[in-house]
């Protein structure tokens, strides 16, 4: 074979390798876009739920194109699988990979390039020219390691009391690693608890609690299937810090939809109990009890809920005194219960009893 012919053959061979390489690269790119699309669909479904329920979001600042795309996705998804909204990642992925979804995926990529969809941060390298989007490339794939090192710095600043330096570091950490769930959780906890105690003014305290909420909401946006972030926002912030049991129950309920620690269900039941939704709380705990029979504490909680339901039943039947006695017993028995004292006061008013100590003694003694 002549030298020229040989070179041509080898050149053609090398070229033959490059064609499938570029085809596979295109395939990988499409898969990455689809994963971004799937994340966006999940994210939007969670957001839509909040908008509809008017519990978390008061305003909807999404673009009309984004809302329209989501509606089309839901319509098509539901026609292909009636449970599309509730599907887990793998079955949802199987639906989204179907050819029927290709035009919607193209629309999504187009809107993403125009920054008209609320993308998950850190997942945008394939679409967004923003500098922060390329931090992954900047640190040669060691993005998570750099985020960890900065996180250590964050901890150092915390121990030095340099709160103002902590905030930008927190932001940088989650920009580098938007799936650093613990960073959102611990960062928000620092903001809502440790930072607020440094201030005396209510406004300052509220400012940092609000920042904690925003930080966790950002975490949820980036990780819509992370139970930990919902439970942190529900329990650590709304339940314990703000005593907003409605929002706490909402977020804890969301947390139970994903893979979660057992305590989340107990906390959900507790927040429902605080909302005076004893029947629902009892159902949650009974279901939990079947799956975790070894945990003893919920048996006490179940007994308490049954007593509360009994008291409500008695009240409905007009037996106010018996209902009062049950509530009074609960109040004495569990000082941490915040519903019982309020119910005692309410029933006392209904019974026209203003001299509480005598009756309280009476009930306690009889018990």
């Amino acid at each position: 074979m002549s030298r020229w012919k040989e070179s041509l053959t080898f050149g053609a061979l090398a070229f033959a390798f490059l064609i499938p390489i570029s085809a596979v690269q295109r395939g990988i790119e499409t898969d990455q876009a689809r994963v971004g699309f799937l994340r966006w669909v999940d994210n939007q479904e969670a957001f839509q739920k909040q908008v509809v329920q008017r519990i978390v979001k008061d305003s909807d600042d999404r673009t009309p194109e984004e809302i329209d795309l989501l509606e089309r996705v839901e319509e098509l998804g539901s026609s292909l699988d009636p449970n599309f909204g509730d599907l887990q990642v793998d079955p949802k992925w199987a639906v989204i990979r179907r050819p029927e979804f290709s035009p919607l995926l193209e629309d999504f990529v187009r809107l993403a390039r125009q920054s008209k969809v609320t993308l998950v941060e850190g997942e945008v390298e394939w679409a967004n020219p923003d500098v922060s989007a390329n931090v992954g490339a900047l640190v040669f794939g060691f993005r998570k390691l750099v985020a960890d090192m900065l996180w250590l710095k964050f901890d150092e600043y915390w121990h030095l009391g340099l709160v103002q330096r902590m905030l930008p570091i927190m932001e940088t950490v989650v920009t580098l690693d938007p799936h650093f769930v613990e960073a959102y959780a611990i960062g928000a906890w620092h903001l809502a608890y440790n930072v607020t105690v440094m201030f005396h003014s209510v406004e300052e305290k509220q400012k940092y609690i609000d920042l904690a909420v925003v930080f966790l909401e950002k975490g949820i946006k980036n990780n819509p299937r992370s139970s930990k972030l919902y439970s942190e926002l529900g329990f650590t912030i709304y339940f314990f810090k703000l005593h907003d049991y409605e929002k706490a129950a909402y977020y804890l309920g969301e947390a139970t939809n994903y893979e979660h620690d057992p305590w989340v269900e107990r906390a959900y039941a507790l927040s429902l109990e605080r909302l005076r939704e004893e029947e629902k709380a009892l159902a949650v705990l009974e279901d939990y009890s079947l799956r975790h029979p070894d945990y003893i504490m919920q048996k006490f909680s179940i007994a308490r809920l049954q007593q509360k339901l009994q008291a409500r039943q008695l009240e409905e039947e007009g037996k106010l005194r018996e209902a009062f006695e049950i509530w009074n017993f609960i109040k004495e028995d569990d000082p941490a219960d915040v519903v019982a004292p309020a119910e005692v006061v309410r029933l006392r008013a209904l019974l026209g009893r203003d001299t509480a100590p005598h009756s309280d003694h009476g009930v306690s003694a009889s018990e």
């Binding site: 080898f10 061979l13 090398a14 390798f17 490059l18 499938p20 390489i21 570029s22 596979v24 690269q25 295109r26 395939g27 990988i28 898969d31 990455q32 689809r34 994963v35 799937l38 994340r39 990642v89 793998d90 992925w93 390039r113 390298e125 394939w126 679409a127 967004n128 020219p129 989007a133 390329n134 992954g136 490339a137 040669f140 794939g141 060691f142 993005r143 998570k144 390691l145 985020a147 960890d148 996180w151 250590l152 901890d155 799936h179 650093f180 613990e182 611990i186 299937r225 994903y258 893979e259 620690d261 057992p262 305590w263």
Partner: protein
């Protein structure tokens, strides 16, 4: 058959090289000491261990791959042992493939050793910081090994290209520098994509995009980070990534052979 014999020889030769042993020892030291970092980050112990170890395997894996693949043939040329081998009735393609197999065996052994230590450290940390409902360690071990496989796929591409460059050189310096350069380019190639989408003309955009599609893109393998941290959004599997790495390995090997076949020895 001859390729395998040459490969095994190259492997034996490689594992005796002090540079590679030093890299491995450094890597093992960092993986082992990652456990001390956990003291500084309460609540984040397992994550820190995973990130430090994965990055360490990636980084030292890169150095080992570049040195193992890039220094094999220049080393033989330098020692003049290549003349003895090629004077025998042996086709050059057999020799090239054999050497490449040897380099891969070296890389696999090193990754395996680092992975085993990583798993041991991860196991100890997981036992120490147990959650309320811990996952069985076998599940963690499986995803860790999958992530290690992705590290290896990346090194397969890198070593193939460094191996191809080594055919041009008589010393190990050029392929090593080229390998590190390829590593940096491979991690930065996404810039080209952004550039193609915002190019001044459609023609320029198409040209840049074609470059983007054929250049080695190591960010494809970032999936390992998601895998190791149990990100629920990893439904796409790793088959395409394996095909990508295998095609690139074949391409590197072919270029290597083209450069080597007429080399005057």
């Amino acid at each position: 058959m001859n390729s395998i014999v040459i490969g095994l020889n190259a492997y034996r030769e490689s594992i005796r090289r002090k540079t590679l042993i030093a890299f491995l020892l450094f890597a093992m030291l960092i993986i082992g000491s990652s456990t001390f970092l956990t003291v500084l980050s309460p609540g984040e112990e397992v994550k820190i261990v995973k990130d430090v170890c994965l990055s360490c395997v990636s980084f030292f894996g890169m150095l080992i791959a570049v040195f193992a693949a890039g220094a094999l043939i220049p080393g033989e040329t330098d020692n003049r042992t290549i003349h003895t081998i090629l004077s025998k009735p042996l086709r050059r393609i057999t020799y090239v493939v054999g050497k490449y197999i040897g380099a891969q065996l070296t890389i696999i052994l090193n990754i395996l050793l680092m992975s085993i230590l990583f798993l041991v450290i991860l196991y100890l940390q997981s036992k120490r910081y147990t959650e309320e409902a811990p996952k069985p360690f076998s599940v963690t071990a499986l995803v860790t090994m999958k992530a290690m496989l992705l590290v290896y796929f990346e090194l397969l591409v890198l070593s193939a290209l460094a191996f191809a460059v080594s055919m041009l050189s008589t010393s190990a310096t050029l392929p090593v520098i080229a390998g590190i350069f390829i590593y940096i380019v491979g991690h930065s190639v996404n810039y080209l994509k952004n550039l193609s989408e915002h190019a001044s003309s459609e023609f320029m955009g198409t040209v840049i995009r074609q470059f983007y599609l054929i250049l080695p893109n190591f960010s494809n393998f970032y999936l390992r980070n998601q895998l190791i941290h149990d990100d629920p959004y990893i439904p796409q599997g790793i088959v395409k990534l394996f095909i990508y790495a295998a095609l690139y390995a074949g391409f590197g090997l072919l270029i290597g052979y083209i450069l080597f076949r007429k080399k005057d020895m």
